[in-house]
Amino acid sequence: MATTDTSASEWPLWEVFTQPPGGKPHEHAGSVHAPDAEIALQNARDVYTRRGEAVSIWVVPSVLISASAPGDAGPWFDPGNDKPYRHPQFYKTPRGVKVF
């Protein structure tokens, strides 16, 4: 990599999570580069909340996130996919019962 400016690449990457108003959970918005958490928060506010999209922001160093491996997605999520009896639609209600 032939970078002329090394100062930019030294800033770590932070993942940004924003919480919209109305009690919804935090959601991944994107990422920012910043030298520390304080500036990461400021950058995240400027980049991802210019229109009142958020009431709260989390920033997390990207390197600290552990993620499931996409290659194993099939077997990994399988235990949750083969149990239809966990859904209400699995069960029959007697004819005539409209509201349950």
Partner: protein, 323 residues
Amino acid sequence: MTTDPKTPAPEDPAKMAEFDTRLARDETIEPKDWMPEKYRKQLTRMMSQHAHSEVVGMLPEGNWITRAPSLRRKMVLLAKVQDEGGHGLYIYCGAETLGIDRAELIDQYLYGTAKYSSIFNYPTLAWADIGVIGWLVDGAAIVNQTMLARASYGPYARAMIRICKEENFHKRQGYELCATLARGTPAQRAMVQDAVNRWWWPSLMMFGPHDGDSPNSGDLLKWKVKLKSNDDLRQRFVNLTVPQAKAIEITLPDPDLRYDEASGNWLIGPIDWAEFKQVISGNGPCNHERLAARRAAHEEGRWVREAAAAYAAKRSEPAGQAA
């Protein structure tokens, strides 16, 4: 970046088949998923060009912030230019998930061979240009980006959804500005007509070469990065824009422009591709000025980046470890 001198290693046929099946099922491809090297390369090229375009797009409009004719227009223009910077950052963040470093992207842009949209190499000569950029240039970008919001690469599509939500304001404010000038004094009317005359053809060129002459379109369509061809998108933009021009009694500078009953399309005359080639190969009216301005901004901001890094390092010292 499109012509790799080394022949790339052939892809694993089993993985390739699974990738094609996923695309056929309209699944999104995510950063850690397996993808063919050419897909990664084409996306890196396309997303970085797109990000650079957003950032360089701040310059023609920034040129008029100090001279906006009212406080309202100045606030609007400031907000729009800030959005363009934000849009660049959304796409850089998406491009980085392909495994390229931000500093490397910036370096290719400022000192290397990376391209950006040819449209930003034209000058903003009058205040009406600001309106016409919002109406035509952002209008064209919306047509393109609405399609890209369904692109197969998840981070790109998500950045586009965010951008599309914000971009409509850009077009609206521009069209409002044009409509206001078009209803104004004869001089104001002439100013907006002149700006439309200058920006119309470059806006049509934003969609890229005709389908038969577009070197990257085949792969991008096959991989569902693009869902429509350059000519289809250009036609959609023309069909949307012609009635808007009529509504404010502005003419489009194309003597061949005519409505085709059979297809329901507004057909345009020939595009000057020689001009397009000149501008993308670095000989447009403002290529040197734009790059010089971006380089200067980057260099002049160096001390801020260094100071922030030094401050962060100093603060992490007592704890004995860096974040």
